[in-house]
Subunit: 357 residues, 4 copies
């Protein structure tokens, strides 16, 4: 049933890592209060329409661009490539895929040079760049280190109706899958894939799309994530904590999901694992495994399955959202129609984990 995206003949660009996201926000001051005052991201520069923010250990210009606009959406998910020539490679690759592309030698935002933006085959706005302004790497600026300090951008997460289709396209692009969720009928509900040596740079969550599920930042320790929750409680914005904190089954990271003023979802994440070996073992989870998304079996709130941010095309218009036709993970695991279990029936303990090594 899946219509696969063909594999281009041209080589894929050499992608290094997920680097920044550009979010359109409806109230720049409210967003600034959230990202700077609450989360402590560091301002590289700003003007009345745009704020450029970065995490503590970042040395490129920014990890997050907040741009004021009428409709909240994700304008781009940007990846850094290995060299200037790889920007050319990206442009050629997507043209071969028949995608709309736009190239700007001076970049689309401040602090980024030569870049190409594309409307990718799944409908997502991607950017590929190499040139960027180097800024002070705040790694040792412990005088600026807050109790809930965000130290790196870790990944994106995208909602798309057909996960295997998206997976093949991303694998052709050079991403390697680290973990996925399937059922015994072969339906794939989600997949995580990486270029850098962590569990993921992006992931595909099965659902109505294209929409952006979340952007994730990393902390050093679990207590930093708890500090963010505590602070949101103190500010009486605990209703912006959507899910967690908890321990993921997939990725093994300690996590938290919060919502910004436009309901863009942000994940705070720490301590996943090294995936840099070529034969890194893939972990496949059964969708009915109650510990796959939260290792402690805490429920996934329905909004986490249903809500996500619109994404824009290269004209800045929201992309139409296509419904997922395969089983919804929420439907098969939550509520009267769904079921999940901690142990296989009849097993005192243990649970078949699929291809995990």
């Amino acid at each position: 049933m899946t219509d696969f995206i063909p594999t281009p003949a041209l080589p894929a660009p050499d992608i290094v890592r997920s680097a920044y996201m550009e979010l359109v926000v409806t109230d720049l001051a409210k967003s600034r209060a959230f990202y700077v005052d609450v989360l402590g991201l560091h301002v590289t520069e700003e003007d009345e329409n745009t704020i450029y923010l970065r995490s503590l250990e970042e040395f490129i210009h920014h990890n997050l661009v907040l741009r004021k606009g009428p409709v909240a959406a994700v304008a781009v998910a940007a990846f850094r490539v290995k060299s200037p020539a790889e920007v050319d490679a990206a442009e050629a690759y997507y043209r071969e895929l028949g995608c709309r592309t736009e190239r700007r030698r001076d970049g689309f935002v401040k602090g980024i040079g030569d870049a190409v933006r594309v409307e990718d085959p799944l409908g997502f706005p991607y950017e590929f760049f190499y040139e960027t302004t180097h800024v002070e790497r705040l790694t040792r600026r412990y005088d600026l280190y807050s109790a809930g300090e965000l130290v790196r951008l870790d990944h994106f997460n995208q909602v798309t109706p057909d996960v295997p289709k998206g997976r093949k396209y991303l694998e052709d692009l050079g991403f390697r899958v680290s973990e996925d969720i399937k059922d015994s009928d072969g339906v794939t509900y989600a997949a995580w894939m990486h270029r850098k040596q962590t569990v993921h740079d992006t992931a595909l969550t099965g659902g109505d799309g294209p929409r952006m599920h979340h952007l994730a930042f990393a902390t050093h320790e679990k207590a930093n994530i708890i500090a963010i929750c505590d602070k949101m409680g103190a500010l009486r914005i605990s209703d912006r904590i959507e899910r967690g904190p908890g321990r993921h089954g997939v990725s093994n990271a300690f996590y938290l999901y919060i919502l910004d003023p436009d309901d863009h979802r942000i994940e705070i994440y720490t301590q996943d694992y090294y995936t840099g070996d070529p034969d890194n073992p893939i972990v496949t989870w059964d969708v009915h495994d109650n510990q796959r998304r939260d290792w402690w079996g805490n429920p996934v709130v329905p909004s986490w399955y249903t809500e996500a941010s619109l994404v824009l095309d290269l004209d800045g218009k929201p992309q139409a959202v296509v419904k997922r036709t395969e089983s919804s993970e929420m439907a098969v695991t939550v509520g009267a129609d769904g079921f999940s279990y901690t142990r296989e029936p009849g097993e005192e303990r243990g649970f078949k984990m699929g291809s995990q090594l």
Copy 2:
């Protein structure tokens, strides 16, 4: 409507702290696996019917007695008193209250000497003792320190229908209230009270009682509590994690609630605050404050409100449970009939917190 328990003329015993609980468990081996293998409590001694366990920093004989029996229940909640004479004082005090008491010079369990047990006015089995065998204090035994090490017994929590009635009785007994939950109609839903210098040695949770809500142990750090959750996930017993982990509003402690094989509830708790000054400010929470029980606004699972352990009388028979007639906290805050809020209507932030200083 409340029928208050009269204040005795005799002085209350000088209670030092909550010291141990005696639990009747239906399968001693399964309970041992839970408390020793999973939670890492240390065995002081054991035989085929009883296991005596203690936490890392304890120097008295035990903090927990597991005794095999046909019906899972709490046999006693035991407090240490300041001297041998205070055992006499306890016996006399409860006799004046008209309670059934039993005195055993050689104690009711191993490792405890002269003690008096009572069926208290709320129907709970209390014990008061001074003499106890000193055992090796494992404080510096880092060679025995697990990732989720339990370092102290912190408190008991009791379910009783009439909280103000119970509060007065416990205040007469010398307990001081640190925090409570009320509504604008004057209904008290719960209260926390202490003898030692932490938030509580016991608490009263409004509901059908007498039943024991939980027994709590403390850890050094929040990550120790996360480690317990992680381990329960690895053992595929995450379904025994009932609620949490999270940050309490009341007490400000980081917490977790888990269930033992008999569904006795155990709380793991850390980093509440000092209450030793005579004018320690009492904190009163509004029952509709969504951050009172979990500071992050995470829901309290219904079972946490409804389930609790039976308690025994001095003959070892389960005490009859009396229904609470006042509003149930669950009913006023959970589900269609209940409501709770993070901020007062019309308030950007903040929430009236009552008598908090």
Copy 3:
């Protein structure tokens, strides 16, 4: 050789806890930068001569008074007593001891009411008070919580030539010893004693005195203390880190010692243990045990043994310092004349710890 201080006939005041210290500092702005900007203590109030600071969980007016003056010294170590009547008791007690006392119904500093200050038998300026202005208890103000947040005042530490003499006087005053350091000849090098239920409210360190060795604040977790070190590194004031961080043998707490601009020593401390039972086991350490002061055997820098702050008399003049005649701990453990060991000779492991239970 020891001339003991006689035991008064009058009852000792009921002391609740170590509450605040008043420090004379030579440059108020520099001290403010240290205590407020670096350490994050919270300002209750201030004027051009004095700053009143408190820790996060404090509800009385202050834990630290910085008062500008020509000579850096400790003006007072103040204890809270249980009631107004205990201020009378303190005054009478010290008069019976033949000490100089001064009573001020309106207190000696802002935020404190009726108080008595004394020049105690060891030459230390103590204050006893009950009345104090209650201020906002910042416990749940996670929006103000820094990475190295100081949450409570924990204790004082005093240098005095004759530790057994000081110990008896403090025991008469109602302090209970939790731990000490001795040698096989009966020389006592140091002792720790408490009123609240932690390891100490004050301690006696054998040496030339009276001088104040340090003031200690507590954090919630060990990582908070590491954050303070990291921040001092980032500010390029790592040379103000005097000793640590490390794990104490005595007290079992994780610790750090730093120096303020006047070389007043501040300890940052966390996770010692409960001492509230009347028969709390006393731990005696052998002075030659290499793990007594740092559990990991890291050396105690000589300045830690030799340097301390002057203390003032009630006229604000520095007290004359008397030399210790007994063995110096540094001399017997550090350098060519000193020796310390991790294990008893001939023992693969273990080390005789004295009276520890």
Copy 4:
């Protein structure tokens, strides 16, 4: 003065990461007690002469081989390469360098297949392999997770007399330098270089060599490292803690150095930073910067500069050690002849850090 190692014409093997070290130990039982009982490394397999150990998140056969032998030494530092063909590439590359090589299709140790070992131009025994037995990846085995759990092998550290010579050779091999220590005369004291995306897979420490300075394992959190120190104190082997714990200037990691029964040095390390971008900023430290090796200015114990393990040639004989002729870091920073400073003279704060971005 430096005689550089020529750059081969053949391509360097594609090295993925530092993978394992083979240590010759004189008493296998004592070593087992150290690595398994104290440090908690996991046994993959063992016999009477050899033990194969791995860290928690490892999926290849082992990270550490302990082999019984008469002289304590390092037998090999092994790197994983990207594919079987890269083993061929490594063999050819080192032959072109004129190094002695030995190829074994069935590997040199259990769990490793086709591998080539070399006596490299600096005198170090390196191994390059791809094939390895996959074993259970214990990442989620929280039931096996100790308080001081070692989760990954992080790096090697090698002592060599001529750091620039070694640096060029390793850069030719494909390593990229992340940080180094120099002085204003151009002397290089040490350099850190990586293949995976952390600060280093190996480093060159200037000194008499070839000798192996240390092998490092990573933990998740700083408290895990503190737990190791605490446990060594409890076991009364604190004299095997050589240096630390502390925060590194170079790498920004939290660290600890301990000594095994043969005085092989092990580092425990956590939370350095991402180096995966092609233009990762190099950080150069001034050798006189007192915060370069310990960010808090704590001294580097002389043994850390002087002691290291012998390395073996391919016949199993210890390599002769050549003396360093350039300035010794210890001599220029420690003791009467050395000097280091926290701030540049005349600077209130700050310290010129060289090429750090």
